[in-house]
Symmetry: C2
Amino acid sequence: MYRNKVTVNEDLLRERQKCTFDSKELTLWLDGSSEKIATRHELEDNFLNDPLLQDKVPAKYKSHKEIYEDAIRKGCIVLEKLEYLQSIGKSDMRTYMQSLGGMLGSAILKDGNPITLHFVMFIPALLGQATPEQQAFWLSRAWSCSIIGTYAQTELGHGTFIRGLETTATYDPKTKEFVLNSPTLTSYKWWPVGHTANYAIVVAQLYSQGECKGIHPFIVQLRDEETHEPLPGIKIGEIGTKLGMNATNNGFLGFENVRIPRNHMLMKNSQILEDGTYIKATSDKLTYGTMMFVRVVLVQDIASYISKAVTIAVRYSAIRRQSQIKSDEPESQIIDYMTQQYKLFPNLAMYFAITTAANWIWNMYNNVTAELHQGELERLPELHALACCLKATASADGAKGIEELRLSCGGHGYMDSSNLPATYGLVTASCTYEGENTVLLLQTARYLMKVWRQAVRGNPLPPTVEYLSNLARGTKQEPWDDSLMCIVKAHQAVAAGYKLYRLNFYVHTYRYSINLFAVIFSFHRKIHLATQNMDRKIKKGRSPEDAWNETSIELMQAAESHCRAFIVMRYVTAINELTTVSKELHIVLKQLCTLYCVYWVLQRTGDFLRFSTLKKENVSALQSRLEEMLIAIRPNAVGIVDGFDIRDEVLGSALGAYDGNVYQRLYDEAMKSPLNQDKVNESFHKYLKPFLKSRL
Amino acid sequence: MYRNKVTVNEDLLRERQKCTFDSKELTLWLDGSSEKIATRHELEDNFLNDPLLQDKVPAKYKSHKEIYEDAIRKGCIVLEKLEYLQSIGKSDMRTYMQSLGGMLGSAILKDGNPITLHFVMFIPALLGQATPEQQAFWLSRAWSCSIIGTYAQTELGHGTFIRGLETTATYDPKTKEFVLNSPTLTSYKWWPVGHTANYAIVVAQLYSQGECKGIHPFIVQLRDEETHEPLPGIKIGEIGTKLGMNATNNGFLGFENVRIPRNHMLMKNSQILEDGTYIKATSDKLTYGTMMFVRVVLVQDIASYISKAVTIAVRYSAIRRQSQIKSDEPESQIIDYMTQQYKLFPNLAMYFAITTAANWIWNMYNNVTAELHQGELERLPELHALACCLKATASADGAKGIEELRLSCGGHGYMDSSNLPATYGLVTASCTYEGENTVLLLQTARYLMKVWRQAVRGNPLPPTVEYLSNLARGTKQEPWDDSLMCIVKAHQAVAAGYKLYRLNFYVHTYRYSINLFAVIFSFHRKIHLATQNMDRKIKKGRSPEDAWNETSIELMQAAESHCRAFIVMRYVTAINELTTVSKELHIVLKQLCTLYCVYWVLQRTGDFLRFSTLKKENVSALQSRLEEMLIAIRPNAVGIVDGFDIRDEVLGSALGAYDGNVYQRLYDEAMKSPLNQDKVNESFHKYLKPFLKSRL
């Protein structure tokens, strides 16, 4: 509907005409069914056609305070709509997630929504950590939004290492209350919502009977429900402007002898009895759930932001004409330059790669959670290890890719009206929140080290690391043959290869046994040198911890390689097994998959030359294959991003709109600037004129 | 002076105590003399101690319009100060550059200064392109700031490819005037200053006697000098908010039959006589000057932004404690994690590498310019090629490095009060302005291709590409020996290696001769495959232009490798030849240099395995060497950044201040937020409360 308002750019029209497959089929495949497409469109219409949710003056022109106030205004409208949709049976948890975050959410509020945390953290934390009685009381109030909650864990001085948190909750058996305190400035909570919420789940060190029992969650009222004034002892405010997400109202929170009743500790797992007796949870792993849920969902969100950025950059590259490939021809569409294709298409392929991995881990998460409910904890470490490295790799690749796409749009990509800076702001944030990427990769590395040891001993391994079994046993790799399966296996060999062997040398063989040398020797020839390295370190008296630290660059790279091997494996398998699409679409999807595989071999040629059967002689053939794929994808690039079916209001970009009227939109967006409402700005009379005149 | 105000963080104190060299000596070496340090400090005091230039409320909290108006206020104060300094003989061109841009400029106005372009583009363009008579008239008015100018070249639809500009200036011999027009929306100028200037140098297609004579510069009055109202036919405004630099007031500019006198064309090079006769400039290359000047200066600016970011990240990493390396010890300083060192120290080394290259090309620029004044144009293409790839590589490396440093500060790096987002905004902008990086790299590649052909023929080459001579002749490389000179030569081999051989195959041998195969054969074994590739392309009937385009990914990489070889060469040579510093400092500088060299071999292991004498067996020794350098640099890291002697107001960062009171500063910066002035924001009463109450 919104696609026919104005004339479509001629270059874009031509691109669409020469597309070799039906982009609507791609939409159907991605969404799953025409009903799902219709539901999505209906939801988008409901929100995006509402004039109250449209900006006359884009938020970027406003002050920080105005941005917040407008976000609250819009946030309340969104919640009212959601409530209405629910009342007529047209809303579920997914609807909430979509309209408060992700694609639709970031269309309504480009810089974040201060109410999102209520649904994404506060309610899930209640579900995961409150007892049935506590849920009965709090969940109904939270669901109906008669209270607004936030989640307060990270402190000024403590992030990913949550055991180090300093906030204390000391149980007082006399009054049957906990007393919350922020003993230092570094213990102030940092990042929870500042002005918007009246309740919080606060993670604090529990003290009872004079002993510290570790971190636990507590529900704390922050503000009076009538006046919104902070309650006595509550120090609260916002933390100031950031690289992006400036409407999320991230805040700080300190406590000075704040008393809460005993039953405000969330006691699904551990408990405090009235007399102060502490009852420990049956398993430490039970609190993993929420954390993994957020990471798994995050990977899907990142994929959707990539699809947004790549749609913008591909359409713009088809419209933008610059310079000449041949001097007797008109200026070329920049999408015809192979250097431009090299910036665009690997990121286009990345969307499919990450989405495939995201869907797969989402299913795994649901299976493992179902097992969990039956008391089955076995696959939890495997899921945890995979979620860690996938969150890290997807966010790092995604941020890098979006920035590359932004730069591929030249100076216009620097304009906020391209919406690429804000999209980058959303994705790069996820490199450090919900577990800092390097820390997460090292957690995966620790798991890989453990299963590698099992593999060497001949024990069976869980599915996602099963490939290590053969490699650990020193099974000879097949010679290089350029097939995608060969590339998949080579990725696995790299992951298994040198990274793990050093890790084992430095840390594990040292602590456990030495006979794994023999095994790895058959796998890798550089064992002699590595042994020397390790021996030298041991001679110098390095402890296992120091050896771990001093090997951690390679450990981090090992975890990333493992993740890449996983992504490539899932992607190639999914495309190979695909039977439900037309031949035309299948060809295109295969080209993208091939591009992704080849691209990553060429990005890490050194690793592949060292640890797989790739030979120097094969590399330039791979480079040619990459170039062939770029050429093959070129005519369908616009068709592919059209198939993502992202409507203009969701793209929110002057460069990426369906009609391709890039320059008119850039101009129109500029004209919305309050500075452009006056021909002469008052600063001329106030400062500039007196200054200029004093020079004469 | 500013360093003793408060207690210094204990971890930082300890770092400073254990430093093995005198950081003041490093400052002395970097600045050049104690007089220069004193002059710099005096200049900084003059600007930064002025309360009128200090922000009570940081600009980030203000609206776009307020930010602009405050920038004009500050801009006028800066100009007044500069005028005073000049009147007492304490100012030169350098003082202007420093206080309007670079380190000091970005301390006064973090998001850019709308008056900077007057000095950085308008005046240099007058100097480079106006006749002596024109200079006599315009320069005095410009220098005294009785007019404020801007430079209008880029258009909405045309950037780096300036031949494609659409704005027209048609000479009318009857009235002896030019008539300026913007025939299309895409021809609107985009990026010149919008509200601030009253004059502009406009680059337009010159038409005379019915013929287009190509692009030329014209001086055009934009606004009335008294009222500042846009003159008739002038369409002017600002282009809206951007990723960064939001106070620079970048604007748009269109013309509708705007008439200017004949002598408003800048006629130093080409001329229009009264009757419309066109007199062409003696050489096309004469207009290169200004462009190269800006690129050369830019490399120095980028280096200084890197020093800022690395100071912030290193100090923060020494203060921040997180997690434990050993379980029985307190939380570790994050700078003790090798993964953190891996993020910090290669970027620390990069500062020295880029600075060395920047100083070298600055001298070369001055020499070549001096030759130019004597009519000597010979070294111009060499300088141009070097300036292109150095601007591209420094800006890309710099932006990537600053972002890595920002991420190394975790969530706090995302805060604007870290000043890392704004610093990134400044540097990433330079990846696309003043010549888009990919286009610049391909210009260098074209030059390299030309000199490679000369080398193969046995002709002597200019100094910066002289290394290609031996390699083109197929001289055998020395075996790998891990020395820095070996690494330098390996970088050169990579640059010369496969990149150029394919380039020659695809484009040049095709067009020129085939006998260079034999030469390259001796240099590289994969010639057979490459020949096949080329033959296949020719069989398919590819034209030279298409072959160029289809090889451009490797051409771009070839230019980057050449630049890396240049940087490494200059860096190693400079450090090896350094005799004026103490042994203690020299050791540290050598460690950094070694780290940089080894780091880049490991970043591109595949290239080195393929094109240099590096063997697989050498790689893990290089990895160990990298780790050794990280460990060696660790104790001096804080001392090194202290040696940069960047005062707190220039760093502008809560994380990077000399005293290390990170958490207090983060909190204090947050408290400056206008949102924190009220305990309850009015949006609660207006939107949130009515909504919450309706739920009950």
